[in-house]
Symmetry: C2
Subunit: 357 residues, 2 copies
């Protein structure tokens, strides 16, 4: 009989609420014969306030034993900026070698996009997750004085770039439109940018059916709002991917709907699934958070573990729910949203019912 051992990190703010709905839908969609075991990990702002710990070694070790991780949201204004991001969230992504940060963007029916004319948006960003400006490689000299110098080093390796580029070509090749766009800034960041471009062009020769394209990151943001339908799969570096996927979430109806997977495709370490949105402390505990992004992240989790039919059931349910009910809650961070105002729980219930059928 099959089983899933799932680590759950609810985290901060609305994390707890949205994760509860994610688990509700997960339980509803899983076949009877699949045994789901979940273990909750108390990590985030409260833990840090209580103990000063962000992610102790023992817990990092324990997390390795699970098949996957579901994470709600990390961060609170009471914690200095960077402490939990670097000490917990990014530590997990780096320790578990989540080199594919997968972020699909789709404009679902009836959702409120800020774009006039409701373009047809359906693309996926493959964001590199373990290198670039996110390595924490940098420093500050004479901190706090008028002579301070602060550096941030973007570290890029052929090893790291090639594996994520290959993953993106595979994904593009498996989609009907078979189109892959590399986004970088190789006219300014010439060292990293040229390496990305050269590797991209070389791997492209192995995928003759995939149409390729290159855009500077600044130009890419223009097309995100003027012509988002031109994109199919995008591969890009860690920081550009961070920026582009928030913008993508905004144009597809808000960050309340944007799912993500931090994937280690080799299976050496568990992959981690989380909504793109943050902890939104301003609306925490009020049943106002849209759990859809988390529920769609559960779909990515299921797909990663081989439950393709169940992943599709969740995605179809979200689509049908939006088509029927229209809009969703104003998403975390005040963006997105629509006409109806069901509670977090009601949206979770509605989707659980749909996937169970």
């Amino acid at each position: 009989s099959r089983s899933i051992s799932l680590a759950v990190i609810p985290g901060d703010g609305i994390g707890q609420e949205v994760v509860a709905q994610g688990l509700k839908v997960l339980n509803a969609v899983l076949p009877q014969d699949v045994k789901l075991e979940t273990k909750e990990y108390d990590l985030g702002a409260q833990r840090w306030h209580r103990t000063g710990e962000t992610l102790p070694d023992a817990e990092l070790e324990a997390l390795k034993g699970h098949d996957a991780i579901l994470l709600g949201a990390i961060g609170d204004p009471s914690v200095p900026s960077g402490v939990l991001e670097r000490g917990l969230l990014l530590k997990l992504r780096f320790a578990f070698d989540h080199f594919v940060n997968l972020r699909p963007s789709k404009l679902f029916p009836n959702t409120a996009t800020p774009l006039a004319g409701r373009p047809d948006i359906d693309f996926v960003v493959v964001r590199e997750g373990t290198e670039g400006p996110y390595t924490g490689n940098g420093g500050s000299l004479r901190t706090g004085t008028p002579a301070e110098v602060a550096t941030e080093v973007s570290v890029n390796t052929a090893y790291g770039v090639e594996r994520v580029v290959r993953d993106a070509f595979e994904r593009a090749n498996a989609r009907p439109r078979k189109k892959l766009t590399l986004v970088h800034k190789n006219n300014v960041l010439v060292y990293a940018g040229h390496m990305w471009k050269n590797i991209f062009d070389r791997v492209a020769t192995e995928y003759p059916e995939v149409t390729t394209d290159y855009l500077h990151v600044d130009a890419a943001t223009i097309f995100f709002v003027t012509q988002p339908e031109r994109f199919d799969v995008i591969v890009t570096d860690n920081l550009f991917g961070d920026i582009l996927t928030d913008l993508a979430a905004a144009v597809t109806g808000g960050i309340g709907l944007a799912a993500s997977g931090n994937i280690n495709p080799t299976g050496t370490f568990p992959s981690m699934f989380e909504p793109v949105h943050g902890s939104a402390p301003d609306i925490a505990g009020q049943g106002k958070a849209d759990p859809t992004a988390t529920i769609l992240s559960v779909a990515l989790l299921l797909r990663h573990l081989g439950y393709e039919a169940e992943a599709v059931r969740i995605e179809d349910a979200v689509c049908a729910d939006l088509a029927e009910r229209g809009g969703h809650l104003p998403g975390p961070s005040g963006s997105g949203g629509g006409a109806t105002s069901r509670t977090t729980d009601q949206i979770g219930d509605a989707l659980a019912v749909r996937v169970a059928n």
Copy 2:
């Protein structure tokens, strides 16, 4: 009697055409007693193909002698990416210490924004121009091999950050709304990000009337499309500013309208004014390029040289022209645009007539 000694670098692609219109309007708006002397510099792709030179020392020296520089556009697909950007455009910005890269964004009447509901957009981005990831400080080891490592170093100094932050506070303080937003990514780029934030907070105490705000760059892109009216003045680093201002141009009717100034506020070196758009080789020489971004850059140039009334005349003329005629040409890079399709020359003529009155 007054005089302006202007260096003109038409550059590549549509650069020549749009600069011609910029000069036409400049001539029309200047009072009779101001003597305008222009000297053209042959720099860009053709020069590089002919001589292998991007910006020889002699020309860099000669450029120093002018009061200001008007630049069209630099770049051509026939030149390897980065050669002209680093060797000419960025070399000018760095050599002339253009630490304030000023980019106003305004949604003019009748222009086609991709945003539904036509929000009220009128903000200015103060982009740092001499530091950050643009320093060219980086390298590549074992280039072209599977063991390649490529780095890009973002260099930030308290000296460089404080001067641009002060400039932004001055600008915010002079505007009716008096609001300044710092954009960075200090939860990940903790060294540079915290330095920016600390300096920003310290300078803020000297401007008690300015309301301040901080946003991560990813969140900022969301607000650019969902709530652009929330911004008044934005100060940010070189790379974030590059990305945000292209997005800003897109939401305010396209890159065909976006002006910029590379300003050395101390006056030690000449400041340089250029449209945000590139050389758009696909439409070069066809009279299809919208010269408005260049003409608005001429307004910034005039303001910088103390001709405030003339700057306002140009801006008012653009506003009136758009209000009356509606839309403009599809901008360079296929973005923006509107209903009418006057030629480059016709738009320049129309604006020259308006400012002369």
